[in-house]
Amino acid sequence: MEFRDYYKVLGVERAATADQIKTAYRRLARKYHPDVSKEPNAEARFKEMQEAYEVLKDPEKRAAYNQLGADWKAGEQFRPPPDWGSGFEFSGGAGRPGGATRGAGRTGRSRAGAAQDGAFHDQDFSDFFSSLFGGGTPFARAGRGAGRDHHARVGIELEEAYRGTTRTLELRRPEVKPDGSVELRTHTVRVTIPAGVAEGQLIRLAGQGEPPSGAGQAGDLYLEVHIQPHRLFQLEGRDVTLTFPVAPWEAALGASVTVPTLGGTVEMHIPAGAQSGQKLRLRGRGLPGQPAGDQYVQLKVVLPPTDTPQAKALYEEMRSKLNFDPRANLSR
């Protein structure tokens, strides 16, 4: 695994005071917080900062980290020393508790399409952090009884929200074996997401959160569904909107057209005299539900190019024969 320079991540000197570390973290957190930031890779940067702050704000962890020495460079290959953690007294503060949810990929065990978020104990901190402060180290928390709930985000396509889909998640859990040693077990959970799930909707998997240590119940796993932006359709609640190009004569004279929907193409009648920007509704053609959403077809009149003499002649004929003033309202 690669060494992580937590001081460099927060942009502080090794001799920085606790207040300086806190100030540096807060300043960076405002810039990179995933809920507010538009910076590229904000989520990854924020996790790095949280991990660094988790160590440097805690006097015990910081002292242990400092003991590794100042000669390490970020990215260097690293292995914890064999006597790691010895010589420290522990106040029982939280180390990394026994559970982490990896990403929810579309297929196999991919981590694409989903991201961890939420509380510190939910987060997928680096292997470097786990090897120093995770389960099986003296810094890990003692048993607490009931396991806590975990939370993860799942990204799906709009078509999957319409039809339903499945996702495979990897849940990594350090578990104590009868001989007292800790073994990392990966639980692969295959989740069926029903048709009609909406943006931001929550899915609960009872008992799939943090396992209990000792007596008590396992926590639940909550999945927050996020629907990726679509090439054609815009989603609002359960309704979808499609911007639909039409020729001027289709808008003016009316037309029967073939319109794509999430459930396949349908025939739709454009009424005569339709205008650009006008919305037509296809009832029940949005996301399934009680009630199902609708699809709105927003017309966009597209002018034919005047790149041939014939096209120019037609426009000139309209100019000369139609008594049309598009700016009539401006002169009132």
Binding site: A29, D117, H151, T186, H187, I203, Q208, T243, Q298, V302
Partner: protein, 108 residues
């Protein structure tokens, strides 16, 4: 490394699902006082069933988690986090409208 595979049917939480306020607090890293203050600010509408035990609609969970994250990670108070939440939601709605208008205005 040991691998164990389970298969689950998801329970999608909808408008008819309610979660105990104590569980919400743990999920969102908020204390009960903060949740009640958020109720006073109109961010969430809890119900008291039975008397003395508060429940929160499950659909409010994503918003409350944002509030919890903003409070914990940025050090803002309840009012500040609630204000930030509403501004972020307004910003997202405006961005959505802009994208919609851009689609209408752009060349096809």
């Amino acid at each position: 490394m040991v691998r164990v595979t389970h298969r689950f049917e998801a329970h999608v939480l909808g408008e008819s699902d309610w979660i105990a306020a104590t569980e919400i607090c743990q999920l969102c890293r908020l204390d009960l006082g903060a949740v009640m203050e958020l109720a006073e600010l109109g961010v969430v509408a809890p119900r008291e069933i039975p008397p003395g035990q508060w429940q929160i609609p499950a659909t409010a969970l994503p918003r409350l988690r944002v509030v919890g994250r903003l409070m914990q990670d940025l050090g803002v108070n309840v009012s500040g986090a609630a204000l930030a939440l509403e501004l972020l939601e307004a910003q997202r709605e405006l961005e959505r409208r802009i994208r919609s208008l851009e689609r209408l205005a752009s060349d096809h």
